[in-house]
Every structure is written in C-alpha cells, then in structure tokens.
Symmetry: C2
Subunit: 448 residues, 2 copies
C-alpha cells in the first residue's frame, strides 16, 4: 500500500510555521513520497519543506524530484548548500539534471564541484543521448581476483556508502579490464578463505558506453540482472547501469511507442504540463500528412463522379469500407510493430509473418464481407450494390493486412521508425486502393 | 552484448552425437541464452540438449523456457526426473507452469510433490489471476529483531541457497507479522554486535495477496525497491514479489495496452505462435462492433441521397473528413489513456484535461480547416463546397478531441477498460456526427 500523503496538513503545518511537526511528519516517509509531497506544495513552500530534511535524506529526495523543482530549488539556495547537494548526487542523476539546466549554470556548477565529481560528470555528459554511458554511475565496487572472500567483504563494508549498488561486484585486472563478476550473495555464502577467482563468473554480459539504453534494458530484463557493467572501447570497466534506471527507460520508451502509434510526437513524460501551442504543434504535422494522403482518395472519387451520380447509394458504404480496412490494417501493424519492438519478431521472419497475416486478412475479409453483403442488401434491396460492397471488403481486408504486416518490416530495414511511418502509408493503401477497387467492382457488376 | 548463440553448430553437434562438445558449449552460457537455444532446436533434440545440463543449471534453464517447451519436456522424461525438477522450481514459476498444464497432469504432479512444496503451490494457485499472491514466492529470509547483525549474517548464509533473494530481509514478530525491513547492504556495513531492531526500517511498503500485480509493479518502480513483501488479511508476511517478475508484468501489461489500442485482444506473449483461427477470432469481434457503428454512418448518408445526387463532389470529401476526425480523436484518447494507465492523470483532473484537449481541437480544427478549404477549392472551384468542408472540419475536430479526452474518463469511472471501450464510441461520434454536420452545413450553404 502506498503511504497516505497528508498533503493539506503538511501545507498547513508549514503555513503555521510549525516546522518541528512538519519535520517529524516527513522523516518516516519514503523518499519518493517526500518528493511527491514537496512537488505538490505551492512554489513558495517547496524550499521551506526541503530544508527541513536531514542532509542524507535531502540528497535522496532531491534525486526523485522533477527537473523543474530541482532547478527552482537550486536557485532558492545560497551557494555552499547548492554545491554540496550537487556534489553528492549520484553522477547519472546529476548528468540528467545538468541536461535540463541552462548551459551557463552548468558551467558555474561544474567549476565549483570537486575535481573527481567534475570529471565524472563531464565524462557522462559527453556520451550520446539515450546511450548506456549517459545512464551509468561510476559508483560501484570493483574487486581483484586475488582477494579472499573475507578481504572482499571488508572492502565492501568500506565502499558501501559511496556505491550505487553492492549486490553485483565486478572483478578487474591491472588495466581495469572486466574479467569477472559475482554477487554479494555468492560472497556471503562462500567460506571467508576462498579466493575471488575461485567463485567469480567469467562469462560476463556487458554493454558498451554507446549501447542504446533500450538495448541495455532488454538485456537486464532477459537475464534478470540487477545491474549491467558498462565498458569503453578498450573493454575497460567505466560504469554500471542499474535496474531502477533501466525500468524508467522502458517506461519512457513505451510511452513513446504508444504516442507514436496514436499519431502524437512525444514530449517526454510531462505531456500534461506542456503548453497548448506546443501540444498542437506536436500533432499537426502528422494530421497534415494524413490530410494529403486523404486527398488522393478524394481524387479517386472525383474520377468516378458519373457512376456515383447514377448510383448514389454506393456513397453510403464508402465510410464503412475504408473504416473496416483501416481497422484491419491497424490490427496487423499493431502486432507486428510491437513484436519488432520487443524482439519477439525478427526481420528474417518477414515472409512467414506477412503470409500469415495476409491469410488472416482473407479469413476476416470472408467473414466480414459476408456479413456486410447481407446488411447492404437489407438496407437497399439492391443485390448488385450489396455484392460490390462484400467483394470489395474481402479485397480491402487482404490489402490492409498485407500492408499492415509488410510495411513495418520495410521501414525497419530502411532504419525508419515503423510505428511512425507505417500508419500514413497503410491509410493511403487502404483508402485509395480500397475506393478504387470498390468503384470499379461496382461499375463492372452494375454495368453503369 | 548478448552472447552469440551458435544455433546451427549446437544442432549439428547433437545430430553428430557429439554430446561432450555440446555440453561444454552450453555450460558457460547464461541460463536465458541456453533456454533460447533449446527453444529453437527441433522438437526431437530439445530433450537431448536439456539432459546435457548439470542439475542446478537445468532447473534455472527450465524456468526460462516457454510453457510449451516446459510441457513437452515434462512428457519426455521418466517420472523421478520430472518430479525433481518440478519440486525444485521456485513456487511462483511452478504456479505459472501449472496454470498452463492440463488439470489431470497438475493433480498427478501435486500428489507426488513433497508436502511442503505442494502446500505452497496449492496456496499460490488459490489466489486470483493477476494478483500479487500469484506472483509471490515463499522463499525469502525472515529475521527476528532481537538477533545481532552477526547472527543474522550467519542465518542468511544458511538460507541463501533456498531463497529467491537475500538482498531484502524482512523482520517478523512471533505471529509472523511484518514489523520491519532491512537490506543486506545495511547488514554488511553494520557492526556485527548491533541488534537488528537498531538498524531496521519500521516504515515498510507492502502489498496484500490480492493487490493487483500492476499496482505492485508501480510501487516497486516508484520506490526503486528490489522486492516487495506480501501480507495476508491478518498482516502476516506470506511471500515476496521480486523486481524481475514485476518487470515481466509491466511488459505484459504494456503489450496488452498496445494491443487493445490497436483493436486486438491479447493472447499472452505468444501471439506469433497462436494458430490462425484463434488470431482471426481475437480480432473479428472488434471489427464487427465497428462495422455496426459504421452502418450508422451509411444510414445518415442514405438520408441525404438527394443532396448527394445533386452535388456529387460532396462525396469526395467524406473520407477526408472522417479520416481527419478519427486521427484527431485518436491523438487525444492516446494521451489521456496512457496518462490514466501510468497514473500521470487522475480522474479528478477530468474537467481540466477535457477542456484543454477540446481547446487543442479547436486550434487544430482552425489550422486544418483553413488548409482543407483551400485544397477543396483548388480541386473543385466551388466555394460553397470548399467552405462546407472547412467549417465541418473545425466542428469535427472539436467533437473528436472532446470525445477522445472525455470518454476514457467516463469508462474508467464505470470500471471499463478505457483503451478497449473508447475507440468504437469515438469512431461513432466522429463518423455519424461528422457526416451529419457536413451534409447539413453543405445543404445550408449550397441552398439545395
């Protein structure tokens, strides 16, 4: 159960200047909850509440705060205090904060940090966005293979405070090359006089600093690890990425995938705090693209004006046909795109999967086509029109599943984002070809 | 980097009967990779490869195998071997396997298991699907608050082998009530003579056995924990859920959300191994629902046959208008549904968010409406038609964003899945109202 955050009462305590009680309310809370409580306070009280926290707790809470609040707190404080917080944040969280700050502030802060922390931060900021290097922390425990288990435990006891995790330990040689790994659990159960080299695992799964974060997230999920080591081009161990950071990566990537599929450009995870003009801008490009593709359909219909004038009722089924085609196509592209994103589907399987989906399209087309033929006949008592609608739906369903399944593979191979690119092309194929097929079949059957 | 799995060569080694080499190829690999390699072998070789593994490794690999392969391996083996594997699996993985097996096989297996394991499994199988109880393991370490740090470490050393995790430790009283928690890290850094009660945290975040798995996943993500304790109705500690299992929950839930948004009923994570008839069945219900809603549009168009006969070109813009409306509506519902699913949006914010989205719809409508008026005029040189199209698009865009933003809140309040229910209603609103508005505006402007 999440602990209840008594927001009103925290604010009223602060308003009443009852700081002792406010402090004793905050201290037993989880850092994530304290951060949320502070985030929800009016701006003027955020700094007040934050300063009530003991120093160690303050750093942790600060790391949980949204970037906006982090920044405003930075400007509220006098210098030495700011510096200490920034200096003691974990390097990966600090790098993310710096990403959001104005370059001038970052330069000032960097200059005033301790040299060791400054170097680490500058290093992390140098890696490409979305790379494992950006997400890694340099605060981990390394061991030498010649240590005994007892000596290793002693070393961990000393380093635990300044390490992000002590549950996975890394064994390096004289040149900082990663040669093995072991868990704290292995160490705790082993006899104290054993050597590290006797109990470590030599087969290490690792990533490079420039490995994509999403790939790192997939690896950690695949192997059920708690952290992944990060090496540089010379295979030297330079950092680790931990599971909590990678879970956030997965969540952000998923939101992006879902937004893309819904035709919205992602704006990070603060969508509902973005201003309205930005929101409109993030959507209008996509809508204009679809408008242009839709005008092709208008042109096709205009080309068949005579037919439609003579058999007006044909018009009544156009929305139904392109609607059904769009839905069938979206179903195929949804499963294929999700499969490609989770690596469940590999590009080499294209022929098999497109074949399978197209067959499913034929099946669905036969079912829906039959249903719609009856419905159209019932509506209009015109067998020619009803048959045209039914036959067209079969053809449209096949085209839609084929396009829906094949296009994501094609765009993936061309290094485009399948989720972004597939929909307009599927829409065009379904709408333009669909209306074309429908009106031509009708012309043939009705002999107009 | 993921280790290369030399599939071809493993299979050829097995075919050649070169088992020693096959074994030495498999042993250094990660369990997840061995499971994948076995999964990809032809059926006849899966059991052969599996039997090459040392016993401890075999259990781990078995837990990573897909349910289908787990089952076929079960039937391949003689009795005592099966039993030992099943007996030694972790209880939550075993419960998941049993879920997939025929009831008769489960009964047989349960009867032959050791009483302790049988009770645990029966207990887990008794919890509702998707509950934390189903996902929990009973293999965790509990401590008493009166133990010293040294004694606690000794106890962990003894229990480590039979525990799913030793990194989070739980403190219970005489009645198994959860009274505190601490991490192995806290224990390792503390002086050996300290008492557990001096270093444990008394504010424990926990879930109930019937808490939804998705909620447990959100909690572990929020607090950056590695495991969550699970208590029964009497607040007694009965199990823990670990982060690796919860990450799988998150991935499965996301796939389900994405599938639902794409109009596909989820079939678990083995979509591409499901047979074609099931695939068609999982989609056709949805398509039939949309067909029915679409027929309402046909009826509206049929009601305006006279108008369309006189101004056939009006037909040419119907696909464009309902297409654009559908897209605008999908954008709004995408951000709102995702926001509701990630708790970024709360039901209480409905008025604010619907207002905001509708305003965005007005903005987008003005932009797109202007663009489309020019385009329609260019195509047809008929100002009345062009103006009708443009004005309708503004109205449709407002309706679509309103419906797209409001309906998810309404369905959430009614305890329906917003992702599943919103689309057909948005489609109906946009198509039926859209076409109605368009044809009526045209009639007014063109005075037909």
């Amino acid at each position: 159960m999440m602990q209840d955050i008594e927001q009103v009462s925290l604010q009223s305590l602060l308003e009443a200047g009852n700081f002792d009680e406010a402090r004793s309310m905050l201290i037993p809370m989880q850092s994530a909850d304290v951060a949320e409580a502070i985030d929800e306070l009016p701006d003027t009280y955020q700094a007040v509440a934050f300063r009530l926290l003991p120093k160690d707790e303050a750093i942790e809470v600060y790391e949980y705060l949204p970037a906006k609040v982090q920044q405003s707190l930075l400007t509220e404080f006098r210098h030495p205090e700011v510096l200490e917080i920034v200096d003691r944040m974990s390097p990966d969280d600090r790098a993310r904060l710096f990403d959001e700050l104005p370059a001038k502030v970052v330069r000032q802060l960097l200059l005033q940090m301790s040299p060791a922390e400054r170097n680490v931060t500058a290093l992390i900021l140098g890696y490409p966005a979305d790379s494992a290097g950006r997400l890694m922390t340099s605060e981990f425990v390394t061991l030498r293979e010649t240590l005994t288990v007892g000596q290793a435990l002693e070393r961990i006891r000393r380093l635990a405070r300044s390490s992000e995790t002590v549950y996975t330990l890394y064994v390096t040689d004289d040149f900082r090359h990663l040669i093995g790994t072991l868990s704290l659990r292995d160490l705790v159960v082993a006899q104290p006089e054993y050597l590290i080299q006797e109990i470590m695992t030599r087969e290490v799964v690792f990533v490079q600093t420039d490995t994509d974060q999403e790939e790192a997230a997939r690896l950690i999920q695949r192997y059920d690890f708690l952290a992944l080591p990060v090496v540089d081009r010379e295979q030297r161990l330079v950092g680790i990425v931990t599971i909590d950071d990678l879970m956030d990566v997965i969540e952000a990537e998923v939101t992006e995938d879902i937004y893309t599929a819904g035709g919205v450009q992602s704006v990070g995870d603060e969508y509902f705090k973005t201003n309205l003009l930005t929101v409109a801008r993030k959507r209008v490009v996509w809508l204009l693209v679809l408008l242009v593709t839709n005008t092709a359909t208008s042109a096709v219909i205009k080309g068949q004006e005579d037919l439609l004038q003579q058999v007006v009722i044909l018009t009544a089924f156009i929305p139904l046909l392109i609607g059904a085609g769009g839905n069938v196509g979206a179903q195929s592209s949804t499963v294929v795109i999700r499969g490609l994103n989770t690596d469940e589907v590999r590009p080499s399987q294209m022929a098999k999967i497109v074949g399978r989906e197209t067959l499913a399209g034929l099946l669905l087309g036969l079912l829906l086509g039959t249903a719609v033929t009856f419905w159209a006949y019932f509506l209009e008592r015109n067998f020619g029109v009803a048959l045209s609608v039914g036959l067209s739906l079969i053809a449209i369903s096949v085209i839609a599943t084929f396009a829906g399944a094949a296009l994501p593979f094609v765009f993936k191979a061309m290094k485009f984002d399948p989720a972004l690119m597939s929909a307009p092309f599927i829409t065009t194929a379904v709408d333009v070809l669909g209306v074309m097929i429908y009106l031509n079949i009708a012309q043939l059957i009705l002999q107009v």
